[in-house]
Symmetry: C2
Subunit: 415 residues, 2 copies
């Protein structure tokens, strides 16, 4: 059984926004065993949507459409669905009451006829209640084929997927189980790894697939298993993961579940009731930002000093000027001093510090672009590593943030 | 003339990664007058890619494919292109020398036959030199129809688009001009705005389109003009923009070009040779991170104190405990003190400070979730604003970051 996703909106096709809706929907469908065959982004245009629907229906059983709803889009999706299903619009009393309620409560301008039109839905559609907005979700179809239409506003769409669409698919469709397991490796390129694990890859059972996902400084290997017998799948998957890990040896950095490295670190700190701060130079607050993006970060994160200017390193972080003069501002010594002094300043158990040159031009040091020092201070002292991170600004920063979390994780595990 | 984008990769279809490549490519194509008709994400599967190619070619003249290259993907795109164009692979000496050079310089494992296979390309393809990687770009086709295949790694793809693909399209295709202009409004909903500007919308010339883009707290109105006569387009577009602005009155917040608000602020600061720092509580370093994501930020950005814990506000930012006790840590008084003290601490001209409650649970204050205070200190003093930002953590942070930049821009313009 396959599904397809169709996103409607010129703003995607002119590159004004990135389509993040599709990845969210695909990930949620995967979790319940529904594979996505294709994702298509099409224009706010009836003929184009009709064509996309026809193509999608020839390949898939579940079609999810986002966007093209709302007064100023001429509710193009609704009209197109009527044409596709040879249907007409009828007023839905519950939706009307909901739209009127939202206007009464949250909106200062008076409700108009175009707003009331949001309550008109194709007569064959089951309405999916949109708690956070005025455009209702719609579920049309039967006999194992269904078209689901959702608003394009991400937080309205997400809520509809979680509370309405997924539960209904679970109820109405028999689905296989899908497991994914990702192994993170460092230190070897994609093709060298491919040679190393060739015996395993050629002997994988047909219901398990292996994918290589090279990214900054690492290669992630994803195993995906799909089948109807949950237990067999699970056991076989575990076998293959173990076999893969023994072939890879110390290239394996860890396994990746649904958790990011920030979440792993957060769990470790909370369990130990220990705290963290960061002293960031060229990473510019990105480490702090990734930490505080998690709810509840205040339990273990005290703060950060983003010492972008050398003067800030001296005056706020109290890095001795003599060290900077002798070793340069991009040096192991400065990274170590930043970490230790931040730890003292914020009274934390751990501190991460970064100093380096992310380019494009050289800053307050002569270090080559891509030269990076990362330090982690802990109650046991401070460790510093030097890295050469290439020449691409964005990548230098992101690779360094990843490295910093890795180094921190290693240090926390000593306690 | 239309183009289409096909992205290849199971990782997109299982929702493991968001397809950001398409938005980049679409935006670059738009800038040179090439519209994108459809974007399709398909599987690492020859039959699927062939079908997508066939469908795309029936609608578009320029087809850009990303992904499906590299040894561990079985170079599926290359083999598929051979089948599609009834072609065979031949070894390209320049690519081989480049691949061998990369291995010699950057990679510790020895080069293998699979790596050397990267130098084999369809005989009909013109090679597009991939400076940053081993998989070459390819340009196949003529008579006004072309298929362009690029690696999926974003920074390799981006470089190929900018240095090879766009210049060659400009050379080989006659293209119309496309202008976009976006007007940002605050304070009124989508449908109320639609009513307000109805006379303009119904009388727009056929070559100018209007789109509504509602987002956090604002509605952006995008006018897009497309045509062969650059001058007429430009003048008419300016007319419509002026008419739109006069209909909207003081709802208009500003116009949006290709520049982000960080870039606008950066220009303003550089021109005035003035400097900035941030004191961030619940925004967790996100403002600093957005500023330092721009190359050259060290010219005006000195640093930041992310005072996530109350203790950090007291000990590093020297916010008097008496103020916190009396007014609460989420208060105008604390925001103002944070901004002024940061400005003194880092010796900057401007300082932004944020304090608030982003939820999901209440922190060191009793303030309702969504309560936010933003302060901007300048040589003329300090301004503070209170906002209620809703209840969704991520949105509270992002809306506040946007607001902070807006407030800063206003203050800088006073100098």
């Amino acid at each position: 059984m396959f599904s397809e996703i169709i996103t409607i909106g010129d703003e995607i096709l002119i590159g004004q926004i990135v389509d993040t809706n599709s990845a969210f929907i695909a990930s949620e469908l995967n979790k319940i065993g529904v594979s996505v065959y294709q994702i298509s982004s099409v224009q706010d245009d009836k003929m184009h949507i009709l064509q996309a629907l026809k193509e999608a229906e020839s390949r898939a059983d579940i079609i999810i459409i986002t966007g093209g709803l709302g007064p100023t889009k001429d509710d193009i999706t609704k009209h197109t669905l009527c044409e596709y299903f040879k249907d007409t619009l009828v007023e839905n009393k519950e939706v009307l009451a909901h739209v009127e309620g939202i206007f009464k409560k949250h909106i200062t301008t008076p409700i108009s006829d175009v707003n009331r039109m949001q309550a008109w839905v194709p007569s064959k559609a089951k309405v999916l209640h949109n708690e956070y907005g005025t455009a209702p979700g719609m579920w049309i179809g039967d006999k194992g084929k269904v078209v689901i239409s959702l608003p394009g506003v991400p937080f309205e769409m997400k809520n509809l997927i979680k509370t309405q669409v997924i539960p209904r698919i679970i109820e109405e469709f028999r689905r296989p189980f899908i497991f994914h397991k990702t192994i993170v490796t460092y230190g070897m390129g994609e093709s060298a790894i491919a040679e190393k694990i060739e015996p395993l890859e050629t002997n994988l059972p047909s219901f398990i697939k292996l994918a290589y996902l090279p990214s900054l400084g690492s290669v992630r290997l994803r195993l995906s298993a799909k089948g109807l017998d949950r237990e067999t799948l699970f056991l076989q998957m575990n076998d293959e993961v173990e076999r893969l890990k023994s072939l890879l040896g110390d290239l394996v950095y860890g396994e990746e579940g649904d958790e990011s490295i920030e979440e792993v670190v957060a769990q470790l700190l909370k369990k130990r009731k220990m705290t963290l701060g960061t002293a960031e130079s060229f990473t510019g607050g990105k480490i702090a930002e990734q930490i505080t993006a998690l709810p509840g970060a205040s339990a273990y994160f005290k703060g950060s000093v983003v010492s972008y200017a050398t003067q800030t390193k001296i005056e706020v972080l109290k890095v001795p000027e003599t060290i900077i003069d002798k070793c340069s501002v991009v040096s192991a010594e400065v990274a170590a001093a930043m970490a230790e002094n931040l730890k003292t300043l914020l009274k934390t158990d751990f501190a991460i510090a970064t100093t380096g040159n992310a380019g494009p031009s050289k800053g307050d040091s002569d270090a080559d672009i891509g030269t990076v020092f990362i330090a982690v201070a802990s109650p046991k002292g401070v460790v510093v590593e030097k890295y050469m991170m290439g020449s691409h600004r964005e990548r230098i920063v992101q690779k360094s943030v990843n490295k910093a979390f890795e180094m921190l994780q290693k240090e926390i595990l000593k306690f």
